[in-house]
């Protein structure tokens, strides 16, 4: 078992990570259960650079112990672990009424294993190999989840307003007409306002397909949406985070 010392965030050098870190909830604390020590070291370092406190366990048993003893905002669990496999850790945690959001990492393929992973009680699933920006974005969204009440009927970012009930979108009181899919796209972006949302997350949550879009199809949808909500307005709200994805944020 390897427990990494608590939060020692130093301002990261990478601008990508910096942009992401700016959007961070301060002091999010996560548990990483991963037996590949090299991958774990890379992950731990990168998470810390993004301002996240990381604990690390290198096998299923110690992971379960730490997950039970401490409180975390998110757990990142590798599916194949020594001593106790990842899915069993998750179901054991759920049995003990620990409902911390869990992201499953897996070297197994996407189509079938994703389903079994989510059935076991996972909240999100990321196949290896993955880009760290993707992992970070997903962990942030999971960690923020409890902060954004699902029952909010109106999402607001700056002067942009989205009414989930009437399906109306206004900016500075002026109505913006959106296609149904554009509405769902904006709804998802605004639900996770202030957080990076990757293309894969958009394809998953807006179109319900779970794979890596290899072309620019998503980008074109986003730029169309952006044109609609930013045309005639000075302040940009929908930003492109280079190498990661998109973020809706009011810079204030």
């Amino acid at each position: 078992m390897q427990i990494t010392p608590p939060h020692s965030a130093s301002p990261p050098d990478s601008t990508d990570a910096k942009t992401v870190a700016d959007a961070m909830v301060p002091h999010m604390k996560i548990l990483v259960i991963e037996d590949d020590l090299e991958a774990a070291a890379y992950m731990t370092k990168a998470f810390r650079e993004a301002g996240i406190v990381v604990d690390h366990a290198s096998d299923g048993d110690s992971g379960l112990f730490m997950g039970t003893e401490n409180t975390y905002d998110v757990m990142v669990i590798d599916r194949m672990l020594p001593r106790r496999d990842g899915l069993s850790v998750i179901s054991e945690l759920r049995k003990r009424s620990i409902n911390t959001p869990v992201l499953i990492l897996s070297a197994l393929g996407q189509v079938d294993d994703r389903v079994t992973g989510l059935r076991a009680g996972g909240d999100d699933y990321l196949p290896k190999p993955y880009a760290f920006s993707e992992l970070l974005a997903r962990v942030e969204v999971l960690g923020r989840r409890k902060g954004t009440p699902e029952q909010d009927m109106v999402y607001r970012v700056g002067d942009l307003e989205l009414d989930r009930l009437s399906h109306e979108v206004r900016r500075a009181g002026k109505e913006i007409l959106l296609q149904p899919r554009e509405f769902r796209l904006l709804e998802y972006l605004m639900k996770n306002a202030g957080q990076v949302v990757t293309r894969t997350m958009l394809l998953e949550n807006v179109w319900d397909y779970h794979f890596d879009p290899q072309t620019n199809v998503i980008d074109v949808h986003v730029s169309r949406l952006r044109a609609k909500i930013e045309k005639d307005f000075d302040k940009p709200l929908l930003k492109t985070i280079r190498g990661a994805g998109y973020m809706v944020k009011d810079e204030g």
Binding site: G109, D112, V115, V220
Partner: protein, 474 residues
């Protein structure tokens, strides 16, 4: 020499044909023995019955003669009958058992004691001069007269060993015939089969040694052996093709991954050489992009082989293909417009197939990606059409473009892994898109068809890629 003979005979007994022949001989012998004993027993009984009947008649005659003419007539009749050749046995004995008259020299003691039929065959001694062994077997009927004399009339059963001899000879002949038959069977059938099996194992050994082009010998008779060879040959053919495919794929992988890896290496070397942080940053970003592309290629490869092996325990369910088609068209419409194309749909509503939504979705996305990539080469107005219809028991989902298309003779080729028409590889892509579509279609019991959108337009016939699904039974 001796040990070689021994080895050969051991080898022979290991062969199925010899073992079967031996088993047959044993079973036949048992059956034959049973038959012989049964038949002899039955004929013995019949013979005994006939003898008894004949003797019984004589006893009745003689008793009647005695009643009519007394002892004198009796003696005369018996004397006459005893003298006839091959006659029965006739004895008149005193109450003490002393033989008074007849054609028997001596009897097994005690035969005359009991009246009626003797219980078992007894031994007697005929008068000398008849030849053969001294004692014979006989069966007889003894009658006591009112004056105390005993009359015995019986029949000779012959030499006791004679009958057994006949049985034994019959058995020997039968066994000899069967042994000969078994030998013939073994030579005719067994040895033949044995040799054919040997030829088959010789061929198999060569195949195992690595020569996959070898085939098992097939005769002309079309019997079980030929059918077996035929199916084994078909199996070998499939293995050879798979093997060939595998070799080609690994060659392609090696070739196609070497290029990006080399680029990756060169970029890293450049970054190392240049001290300017801007340049270094650019190079590193390029390296990441290059690595991402490699990872994508690997993921696609893994995905294809998992789909092909059927090891994706893909959850199949009723999937609304009409909805997926419409969704996909909607997803790609802005990208198509961006590329200066129009994307039209002709989608028949409510078409359901049994399948996996994710895999079908990914296959359609791949085809749409291709269409957007290659329709741009078309002259005139680039156009993509997504068409879904039920045709003759199949559900056909076509992605049509009016681009340069794929020449007829290359259509089979492009489905293979890493095969790209664009030799210069100037367009981005892994060369795996169509391979995945084909693998997905095979998993769904369907097929991927490639054809020209407009055959008559020679310069830009366009490509129509059709995913053909078997329509679910209603």
């Amino acid at each position: 020499m001796l040990s070689r003979t021994f080895q050969r005979s051991r080898l022979m007994f290991r062969s199925t044909a010899v073992r079967l022949s031996a088993l047959y001989i044993l079973l036949f012998a048992l059956c034959a023995a049973f038959l012989v004993f049964y038949v002899t027993a039955m004929s013995e009984r019949l013979l005994a019955q006939q003898t008894q009947q004949a003797v019984q008649e004589e006893v009745t005659d003689i008793q009647r003669a005695y009643e009519r003419g007394g002892i004198n007539l009796l003696l005369r009749i018996m004397e006459r009958r005893a003298r006839q050749p091959g006659a029965n046995l006739y004895v008149i004995a005193a109450p003490s058992g002393e033989i008074l008259a007849g054609n028997v020299a001596s009897l097994q003691p005690g035969v005359l004691e009991e009246e009626g039929w003797t219980e078992a065959p007894f031994r007697y001694e005929p008068f000398a001069g008849t030849g053969g062994p001294r004692f014979h077997l006989a069966t007889a009927n003894v009658v006591k007269l009112d004056n105390g004399l005993r009359i015995m009339i019986g029949r000779d059963l012959g030499d006791p060993s004679r009958f057994r001899g006949i049985v034994r000879r019959a058995l020997m002949v039968a066994l000899a015939i069967m042994g000969l038959g078994a030998l013939v069977i073994w030579f005719g059938i067994g040895r033949n089969a044995l040799k054919r099996i040997d030829r088959m194992s010789a061929a198999s050994q060569k195949i195992m040694a690595g020569d996959l082009s070898q085939r098992l010998p097939v005769g002309r008779s079309g019997d079980e052996f030929d059918r077996l060879s035929d199916s084994l040959n078909a199996m070998l053919g499939r293995i050879e093709r798979l093997n060939e495919g595998l070799r080609q794929v690994s060659d392609n992988i090696a070739h196609d991954l070497k290029t990006p890896l080399t680029r990756l290496r060169n970029k890293a070397a450049d970054a190392l050489d240049d001290d300017r942080s801007e340049v270094r940053r650019g190079a590193l970003e390029g390296i990441i992009a290059e690595s991402d592309q490699l990872i994508r290629t690997f993921n696609a490869l893994l995905m294809i082989s998992r789909v092909e092996a059927g090891s994706i325990a893909a959850e199949m369910s009723g999937v609304d293909l009409s909805a997926i088609s419409a969704d996909s068209a909607e997803l790609y419409e802005p990208a198509a417009e961006e590329a200066g194309m129009t994307l039209a749909t002709e989608i028949e509503p409510g078409l359901i197939v049994n399948g996996n939504r994710e895999l079908i979705g990914q296959a359609i996305f791949n085809l749409l990606d291709n269409a957007i990539k290659y329709a741009t080469e078309a002259d005139g107005e680039p156009k993509i059409t997504v068409r879904l219809a039920r045709v003759d028991g199949f559900i056909r989902l076509s992605i049509c473009d009016n681009g340069a298309g794929i020449p007829q003779k290359k259509r089979k080729e492009v489905v293979k892994r890493f095969v790209r028409l664009d030799e210069s590889r100037s367009k981005p892509g892994t060369g795996l898109g169509l391979s995945l579509v084909e693998a997905v279609m095979e998993l769904h019991g369907g097929a991927l068809e490639l054809s020209a959108t407009k055959e008559d337009k020679a310069d830009a016939p366009g490509l129509t890629a059709t995913m053909v699904f078997p329509a679910p039974k209603l």
